[in-house]
């Protein structure tokens, strides 16, 4: 183990002291419990309560710019994956290289980045793994989309609460509970390219005991023929990748809660064929594929005591494995296949505790500590036959974090939220990240927010130690840093119409980027200093008895401060529209989603052009007492459009699916 100086412990002791003083006062708010049924109306109005609405700030109060997508919207719009949801969100864009989906936020999507700059949580449980820091959002996301109760997307840096990876956004997926399912639920769907999905879920409430279990499988043969002009020669099947785009997955989720205790277990595994001939593999070979699995156990205690003191304690264990099988050509005889196996196995456990208490009327202090022990961070790579080992790297590390956040009302309409987090790493430098937000609400329909924050991401094990040709390792990498300033103005025009505007400027220093070394090798380096400035508008509204929806437009320019060039993978304009029209007394919902993305350059020096995409969905709720039906058309206009490639992908642009269809039905056999 590395020599560690005792230095980092000392600054911790004073943090702990503040922490103890700030929240250590007891949470007793004892008062006699009256017989509620005999209480007068006045008495009822004076009883202090705890409840969900205490934890869930309305997004107007939240010291950031927040988007929430609910289960109802997921159904109405026919979203298939988390990636489908995210691409509709203001200032987000998603690209797909026919293996993994990548998120871009506010003009940032670095090629070859496995969504390391976005923190993905499921019910508050961190999903980014301990090798690649990857947030998996496509079919590889281990939670079934139909088990999502809502998705909260919090834009802006949040390292002051969450530590590493919370640079551009935090995505928190809240799963359903027993009462959201209640009884047996069966669902089946079928779609283009021989795509099938089945799900079985069961929810039951027995007094205070709530139980939800769900399992699903999905299989898609994918596109039968994909044409890649880069491979258009007789030796490589004239550029046609035939039957190599398959995708299959299975998920399982169990949540049991009793009073304030919640136990959750989740498992997801996905196998995807890679049709692009990536990483110098033989083109059009069905053997080249990746399998990603993630499983976790999470035990949580969440209680709000009288006096509005909330306590959250969590203990968790995660395992994340990746296996890539790559059909490489032999260097001596290119017609001969040498299967190469690439593995990563990550395991970690950890504990987290957070307490929040309102003191002096409206002053809410939250403080917490987190410990994560990465017990396995192993990577290996070898040729199967003839056997040749290239990498067998085994590591472990740990992380300790401590944070405090205070929401202080300054005047009746002005509040400040300030927070700071200190993170200690066993293998890289410690980081301290503050965040300050001012929220001004002169009246109930106006919110003005000024937010400043810093965030960081530590280099991951893959970036530092993966050393299989053409990749070179770089153990000397240090954390990348982000600083962001944002002004948000949310204005209610009427009770049913809201306009939200946001202007931001952010700078990222020492961004970790994959750089070419000589003509044929790559290395991750802290090289880029970039900035992005932009403005976003969003209109959200609802007509009485009818049409509801939102429209947004974002403009942003992301530039490299050293070369003064615009960044690749960074569209300047993004437009989104979603509309839902309820029909037949809200039994039927017709929904339309449209997205526009302007053209952008790619890292290979090429470009992909702008496109509009339109999806249409009809959702019938309670068609009969037990049945919901939905029919969707994706890319209705059959627009031919391309996403930029990621590193290792030989194509200059990746063509996306044309018009596709899906029908799905859900039987709710329990009461509803």
């Amino acid at each position: 183990m590395k020599a560690l100086s005792s230095m980092p412990i000392r600054p911790l002791s004073w943090v702990f002291l503040i922490f103890a003083v700030a929240t250590g006062n007891s949470c007793v708010g004892q008062q006699p419990i009256p017989d509620l049924s005999e209480a007068s109306l006045e008495q009822l109005g004076n009883i202090p309560v705890y409840g969900a609405s205490m934890h869930m700030q309305s997004s107007g109060d939240a010291p950031s710019s927040v988007t929430v997508i609910t289960a109802a919207e997921i159904q109405e719009h026919g979203y298939r994956t988390l990636a489908d949801i995210l691409r509709t969100v203001r200032s987000f864009y998603v690209t797909y290289d026919r293996n993994y989906s990548s998120i871009g936020v506010r003009g940032f999507a670095r090629p070859g980045d496995y969504n390391t700059r976005v923190l993905l949580l499921v019910d508050g449980h961190r999903l980014n793994d301990d090798i690649y820091d990857e947030a998996m959002i496509g079919t590889e996301f281990p939670i079934d989309i139909e088990m999502i109760q809502r998705v909260e997307i919090i834009r802006g840096p949040a390292s002051s609460l969450y530590g590493s990876n919370a640079l551009f956004a935090v995505i928190n997926v809240i799963t359903k509970r027993a009462h959201d399912v209640s009884g047996l639920e069966l669902s089946a769907e079928a779609g283009s390219f021989n795509t099938y999905k089945g799900r079985i879920s069961y929810g039951q409430e027995l007094g205070q005991l709530q139980l939800l279990i769900s399992g699903s499988f999905y299989g898609s043969r994918g596109q039968n023929r994909l044409y890649y002009p880069e491979f258009d020669s007789p030796e490589t099947n004239n550029g046609i990748a035939a039957h190599v785009d398959d995708d299959q997955l299975g998920t399982a989720l169990a949540t049991v809660s009793f009073h304030d205790f919640t136990l959750q277990a989740a498992y997801g595994t996905r196998e995807k064929g890679i049709p692009t001939g990536s990483y110098d593999t033989i083109f059009n070979n069905p053997g080249t594929r990746t399998t990603d699995s993630h499983e976790y156990f999470d035990a949580r205690y969440d209680h709000t005591f009288a006096g509005n003191c909330a306590l959250l304690a969590r203990l968790f264990f995660d395992r994340d494995t990746y296996q890539g099988t790559y059909m490489d050509p032999s260097s001596l005889d290119p017609t001969q296949v040498i299967p190469n196996l690439d593995y990563a196995a990550g395991e970690w456990w950890g504990t987290q505790i957070q307490a929040a208490k309102t003191v002096l009327k409206r002053n809410r202090i939250a403080a917490g500590a987190e410990y994560r022990d990465n017990i396995r961070q192993n990577q290996s790579d070898y040729d199967l036959n003839p056997y040749s080992l290239y990498l067998n790297d085994k590591r472990n590390s740990f992380i300790g974090g401590i944070y405090i956040q205070d929401e202080v009302p300054i005047t009746k309409s002005l509040a400040m939220s300030a927070g700071i987090r200190y993170d200690y790493y066993s293998d890289v430098a410690a980081s301290t990240d503050p965040r300050v937000a001012l929220v001004y609400r002169p009246e109930s329909k106006t919110n003005l927010k000024l937010i400043y924050g810093k965030a960081f991401r530590i280099p991951n094990v893959y970036e530092r130690y993966y050393s299989v040709d053409p990749n070179l390792p770089n153990p000397a990498l240090h954390p990348e840093k982000l600083e962001s300033t944002e002004v948000v103005w949310e204005q209610g025009i009427s009770d049913r119409l809201w306009i939200s505007t946001s202007a931001f400027h952010l700078t990222a220093n020492d961004l970790i980027n994959q750089q070419p070394v000589g003509s044929s090798q790559f290395i991750f380096q802290n090289v880029q200093n970039v900035q992005s400035t932009g403005i976003e508008f969003e209109l959200k509204g609802q007509l009485p008895h009818g049409l509801e929806g939102s429209a947004s437009y974002s403009f942003g320019e992301a530039k490299d401060n050293d070369t003064k060039l615009f960044l690749n993978n960074s569209p300047r304009h993004l437009g989104k529209l979603d509309l839902v029209q309820p029909l037949l007394q809200r039994k039927l919902f017709a929904s339309l989603d449209a997205q526009y993305r302007s053209g952008m350059t790619t890292f290979t020096g090429g470009s992909v052009s702008s496109f509009p995409i339109v999806d249409f969905d009809l959702f019938g709720q309670k068609i009969s007492r037990h049945l919901d039906l939905s029919a969707s058309v994706y890319n209705l206009l059959n627009k031919k459009y391309y996403d930029p490639p990621s590193t290792g992908v030989p194509e200059s642009a990746i063509q996306q699916d044309g018009r596709t269809f899906r029908v799905s039905m859900t039987w709710h056999l329990g009461e509803r």
């Binding site: 183990m1 020599a3 560690l4 005792s6 980092p8 911790l12 702990f16 922490f19 103890a20 929240t23 250590g24 007891s26 949470c27 007793v28 708010g29 004892q30 419990i33 509620l36 049924s37 209480a39 109306l41 006045e42 009822l44 109005g45 004076n46 009883i47 309560v49 705890y50 409840g51 205490m54 009462h179 959201d180 209640s182 409430e205 007094g207 209680h303 005591f305 009288a306 509005n308 003191c309 306590l311 504990t351 505790i353 307490a355 309102t358 009327k361 500590a369 410990y371 022990d373 740990f398 300790g400 401590i402 200690y424 066993s426 049913r496 008895h545 007394q585 809200r586 009461e671 509803r672």
Partner: protein, 185 residues
């Protein structure tokens, strides 16, 4: 013991150490009252301060129906408050309903936030029926609901849409109106 292990233990101890001083009265105040217990108590109490039009009850012992739209867990809580109780001689009956049609026989109907998208449709289908609708979403009153819960800080209070109440043929006592945080006329 090596340095790394020491630091690890330090962190774990720090996390665990936090548990004890915080909220140490966990056992003492385990009876803290939840938002929904208070809402349940309100629902029961409202019935004491509202007069339904003549003919609503077939006879003196016809039950008074407190209905909940599709929220089983809240039914449990309301039952704890209202089970085996009477209001002006009428036994209280807590019922789960699934739509507007089933709600027409109710005296009160609670539409929780999870069901709020049904509000408009329900309010529409209750036109002409004397049902006291109670909700908990921002725009409940604007959508034609009668009483809406609002949470202020740690307290649950309510607003009253008197116009809608009158249209439904309900008479609200001045006591109820005086406690309401806001009355829409």
């Amino acid at each position: 013991m090596n340095q790394g292990l020491k630091i690890r233990i330090c962190w774990i101890a720090l996390g665990m150490g936090l548990l004890t001083p915080l909220c140490r009265s966990a056992v003492a105040d385990a009876q803290a009252i939840s938002e929904y217990q208070v809402k349940a108590a309100y629902l029961y109490s409202f019935a004491k301060f509202v007069e339904w039009p003549a003919g609503t009850f077939k006879n003196a012992v016809d039950p008074i129906r407190l209905c909940i739209l599709n929220d089983k867990s809240f039914q449990v809580q309301l039952n704890q408050i209202a089970e085996n109780r009477q209001i002006a001689g009428h036994p209280v009956l807590v019922t789960l309903v699934q739509d507007g049609k089933q709600s027409r026989g109710c005296q009160e109907l609670f539409i929780s936030s999870s069901q709020s998208r049904e509000t408009m449709q329900i309010v529409d289908s209750l036109r002409g029926a004397s049902v006291l609708t109670v909700g908990e979403t921002d725009d409940f009153v604007e959508q034609g609901g009668i009483i809406n819960f609002v949470v202020f800080g740690e307290h649950v209070q309510f607003q009253v849409n008197q116009k809608a109440a009158t249209q439904a043929g309900l008479h609200m006592s001045s006591q109820l109106l005086s406690v309401a945080k806001r009355v829409f006329k």
